[in-house]
């Protein structure tokens, strides 16, 4: 008999002006000791499904019909009071954001033992002993000390371990993990996944794993359900799914994932066949680097006291050298906090440079000031990570794209400028009437296209792409990556591609530079770095990445 059986579950969200059917007629089973993965892109209803199971829905959402049977008792018939005991002892949840799921003013030990003292009437000593066991079980190195600490004293990975410990405190039958590793770096992600898998085997729990990352799914899941528009389109065992996906949407998802095998091809979107990319990249005859960064250092001063004395420096970037050649893509890879974004922003002179040289086509960039700097800005442009905060919500899209052309005097004739904007929109695949609309009317992928059009407007030779696809779904990511490749083929630009996503790197990059703690540890041709990493850190990083194997 199945541990958890969900049948015909439907949930709707009632807004003031309309009703959204977030979950439509969803049915699945989870067995003892099984990992069941719910996969889908954002807005597919996978999180609402999870919240419906634990009956933790927001006020606006309501379960309209269906059954959730846990050990053959329908959870949807329980009163709220009964449900509280179920949540404490039988169904537990782990959320995505380890930063906000813990109360910042309560010590770790007290947060974990709180529910034990409440629900199981344990004495304070017994609860603390249990707590220590749990923290040891989730692999915290110094559990005793950690219990007396506050959440801000711990790293993201440690916090997520504590969340897991809290979820496990009552020995649940079912553990629901909602994107538990999305906010974590790959090396930490690997540790957390391993831990979850180990604990599940020990405790024989049913694990419902919700994620958008197919690589992670392949690593952990026994069975998989793919969700789209609130419906499950395919349920299959992990092996079947990755060798022969049945539903067209599943195939689409798998095809959209960039990988080293798809280099030189367009990523397929909506089932169309992968086509060869236009290879006629305009090559400049001489092999001089377009952009040459030499021993770049960026330090941020730490100031203290009333006189703002500089007491120390944060060495965000410490001795970085790299060369970018015309028409090529250099990927700058590293985990969060390694200083890769700082490098990108320093190159376009958004940050002050502490030391080092930068030249663009042999012209110095570091000493530029005022008008000279403004004149140079059209050569180097940047596309940011978050397409929501990088467009001014109060400006029309046309004005946003035009702004750079006006301020850098690329085109001074208003009529020609309008025409140029129309062409740019066409180039990035947006309708011409987008010009007179506001950014909030566009989706994340479309907004990223607007950002790219804005950067292209001033005819740059180098575009710094700062994680341009990390906020996007995999199919939208595929569209944006295709667009970037097409534009490079047409216009012969160079990209400095800053990212933490190895699958994107392996698909797109000509060269790779690996950054670690403010410095570059390995630099070389993409294929050789990926296949024969030299430095220890690169090896560790590559090993931690969940790889998607398609049979």
């Amino acid at each position: 008999m199945a541990l958890l059986k969900v049948s015909n579950l439907s949930t709707e969200i009632r807004l003031t002006d309309r009703t959204i059917n977030a979950v439509k007629d969803v049915s699945f089973e989870v067995n003892h000791g099984e990992t069941f993965a719910l996969v889908g892109e954002s807005g597919s209803g996978k999180s609402i499904t999870a919240l419906s199971l634990a009956r933790l829905l927001p006020d606006a959402a309501k379960i309209t019909h269906g059954q959730v049977r846990l050990n053959d008792a329908n959870l949807l018939n329980y009163t709220e009071k009964d449900m509280r005991t179920v949540r404490g002892s039988k169904v537990s949840m782990i959320f995505q954001e380890p930063m906000t799921s813990l109360n910042p003013v309560v010590k770790i030990g007290d947060q974990i033992s709180e529910s034990m003292i409440h629900h199981e009437q344990l004495s304070k000593q017994a609860a603390r002993a249990r707590c220590l066991d749990l923290l040891n079980a989730v692999g915290l190195p110094d559990a005793k000390r950690n219990m007396g600490e506050y959440p801000h004293q711990l790293s993201g990975g440690m916090r997520q371990r504590i969340m897991i410990a809290i979820a496990l405190a009552a020995n649940p039958d079912v553990l629901i993990a909602d994107e538990p590793t999305t906010a974590l770096d790959v090396t930490i992600q690997a540790q957390v996944l391993e831990l979850l898998k180990k604990l599940q085997e020990e405790l024989k729990m049913g694990l419902i794993f919700i994620t958008h990352d197919l690589g992670v799914v392949q690593q952990v899941a026994d069975r998989i359900a793919v969700m789209r528009y609130g419906e499950i389109v395919e349920t299959a065992s992990s092996k079947e799914f990755f060798s022969a996906p049945q539903h067209p949407y599943s195939q689409q998802l798998l095809n959209a994932v960039p990988s080293i095998h798809k280099r030189g091809q367009r990523l397929s979107i909506n089932g169309e066949d992968a086509t060869q990319l236009n290879k006629n990249i305009k090559q400049t005859p001489d092999n001089l680097p377009l952009l040459d960064v030499d021993h770049l250092k960026v330090h941020f001063p730490i100031r203290k006291g009333i006189f703002k004395r500089v007491v120390d420096h944060v060495k965000a970037v410490n001795d970085v050298s790299l060369q970018l050649y015309p028409g090529k893509t250099l990927a700058l890879v590293g985990e969060s906090g390694c200083g890769k974004t700082t490098v990108g922003k320093s190159i376009v002179r958004l940050l002050e440079i502490t030391q080092g040289d930068m030249t663009f086509q042999g012209h110095d960039l570091v000493q530029l000031k005022g008008e000279e700097l403004r004149a140079r800005r059209s050569d180097l442009q940047i596309v940011f990570q978050d397409p929501y905060s990088s467009l001014n919500p109060r400006m029309l899209v046309g004005d946003i794209i035009e702004e750079g052309m006006i301020s850098l005097s690329v085109e001074n004739n208003p009529q020609k400028r309008k025409q140029a904007v129309t062409e740019l929109l066409q180039q990035v695949g947006l309708p011409a009437d987008s010009m007179d609309r506001y950014p909030h009317e566009f989706s994340g992928g479309q907004r990223q296209r607007i950002c790219i059009a804005r950067a292209l407007a001033v005819k740059p030779k180098v575009i710094i792409c700062d994680e341009p696809t990390s906020a996007l779904d995999v199919s939208v990511q595929a569209q944006v990556l295709n667009l970037l490749k097409d534009l490079q083929a047409q216009l012969g630009m160079s990209y400095l591609f800053i990212t933490h996503d190895m699958s994107v790197v392996s698909y797109l990059a000509d060269e790779i530079a690996v950054m670690y703690q403010g410095g570059i540890v390995e630099h070389g041709d993409a294929i050789s770095v990926l296949q024969e990493p030299q430095h220890e850190y690169t090896k560790k990083l590559l090993a931690a990445v969940p790889k998607l194997h398609l049979h």
């Binding site: 800005r377 978050d386 001014n392 850098l408 506001y438």
Partner: protein
């Protein structure tokens, strides 16, 4: 010409403000992201109703700000001569209430004075009697018997007038609406008032009905009686309360105009440039904040008074002097009240300057000034609007408090604060004269209540945190 227009300084500023308001409405109509939250305000019945009430107050203030000198009648010469008296358009409408001045106190709707007066009798002896009022209920033969019936009849007449005006008004609106939706009149009326109408038409219709009835009844009854009685020198209290509306609205709005440029410029600069600019601005407002506001206001009002008494030749009339004092009160209130908004805007700019679209603009070489104007300011305007709406009622109340302790507007200016200040002594009399205080309270209460309700709705509509949680 039968009159000579007079534009006082506060009038001019008030008209400029009204013009700015109109310009903003025209500007916002074309821009979807600005008009969207405002449409949300009008769709809430609380918002629509308070807006109707507030615009009634505002129109009274506008009427009361159109000043002129009337032409003197006796001028036989060709050359027109004008009186020195400054009147407003509102005064013309309220002529009976303005001119019918009694001897002294009388109760609301009374026909006799409040206190006994020695009156010589026919037989030559003196007797203490309550004398009849000169105007209030003067048309009645036998006030004790006829007064009640008379008042009821007047009220009915007022309601009748109101009903006619209201029906005509809504007939015109329905007609225009039927042309717009291209339906027959009867169908479009039922559609206009149906519950699925986008805007709360029913609530607006009821509110306008109530307001028109109140105006009409008080006009009809007010020309035969003193609605809220008379004060010590026999002036109509209802007239005073109505005249105080202009003072209240002016204090609430002009102060805002004085404060806004300072708060916006300094707040945005402090947040955007940081460093020493931020330090200077922070020290400025911390210093200003630590001086008691009342002290500053008292000092500056004293200064103005001394200046005016030393330069009497510059001021033609009492009204002009009172006007200058009102203006200075607005100025000094503005100077003491910009710090709160400035602090909010500084914090918001801190947040905005780290936004990626600002960095993108920097990467395009957009000048700092343009970034401030095009990227920073439009994105904190919701805070400005919310603060203005919330501050308005506070300022109206502040005027009352300041006038009460004699450092507010000129004693000659009609204001709720002055009325309350006078009522302080009247409350100690026997029998108690309660109507001045009540009238001031009722009029101020309604204005402040609806201003607060409106501010609440505006905040709900404009605050991104509230809007995002829906």
């Amino acid at each position: 010409m039968p009159f000579q227009p007079v534009i006082l300084i506060t009038d001019a500023l008030f008209f400029i403000l009204t013009a700015l308001l109109v310009v903003f409405i025209l500007f916002a109509r074309k821009r979807e992201h600005i008009s969207r939250p405002w449409k949300k305000v009008f769709k809430r019945s609380t918002g629509a109703v308070s807006l109707v009430v507030l615009s009634t107050y505002y129109s009274i203030a506008v009427l009361d700000s159109m000043h002129f000198n009337p032409r003197l009648e006796n001028a036989s010469t060709e050359q027109a001569t004008y009186s020195n008296e400054i009147l407003s358009v509102l005064d013309v409408f309220m002529t009976p209430m303005r001119t019918q001045v009694e001897k002294t106190f009388s109760a609301p709707l009374a026909t006799h004075l409040l206190s006994k007066v020695m009156v010589p009798q026919e037989d030559g002896s003196m007797q203490q009697v309550y004398p009849r009022l000169k105007y209030g209920g003067a048309h009645l033969e036998n006030p004790d018997q006829d007064k009640l019936v008379d008042i009821v009849l007047l009220v009915v007449r007022g309601i009748l007038y109101a009903a006619i005006v209201w029906l005509v008004m809504w007939a015109v609106i329905s007609f225009i609406y039927s042309r717009k939706v291209k339906l027959t009149i009867s169908k479009s009326i039922s559609k206009l008032f149906s519950s699925d109408q986008e805007y709360p038409v029913c609530a607006i219709a009821i509110t306008t009905g109530i307001i028109i009835t109140i105006v009409s009844v008080s006009m009809v009854v007010g020309s035969y009686y003193h609605l809220f009685g008379t004060d010590k020198v026999g002036q109509d209290v209802f007239y005073q309360a109505i005249k105080s509306i202009r003072t209240g609205i002016l204090i609430g709005t002009l102060t805002t105009i004085v404060m806004l440029p300072v708060a916006i410029t300094l707040g945005a600069m402090a947040g955007f440039f940081r460093g020493w600019v931020d330090d200077v601005i922070q020290y400025l407002y911390t210093t200003l904040n630590s001086i008691p506001g009342v002290l500053l206001i008292a000092a500056s009002i004293l200064l103005v008074q001394i200046y005016m008494s030393n330069n009497e030749e510059n001021f033609n009339s009492l009204v002009e002097r009172a006007d200058i004092r009102l203006l200075f009160l607005c100025l000094i209130l503005g100077i003491t009240s910009w710090t709160g908004l400035c602090r909010l805007l500084r914090a918001e700019t801190f947040k905005l300057r780290e936004m990626e679209y600002i960095q993108a603009a920097t990467a395009f070489g957009v000048t700092k000034f343009r970034i401030l104007v095009r990227h920073v300011m439009p994105n904190f305007m919701h805070i400005v609007l919310i603060t203005v709406a919330l501050d308005f009622s506070g300022l109206v109340l502040a005027e009352a408090v300041l006038s009460y302790i004699n450092i507010g507007v000129d004693p000659a200016t009609n204001s709720w604060g002055n009325m309350i200040n006078q009522a302080r002594l009247e409350m100690a009399r026997d029998p108690v004269v309660w109507w001045s205080l009540t009238a001031a309270f009722v009029f101020m209460f309604i204005l402040v209540l609806f201003a607060n309700l409106f501010a609440d709705v505006v905040r709900d509509a404009l605050d991104p945190r509230v809007a995002g949680s829906e």
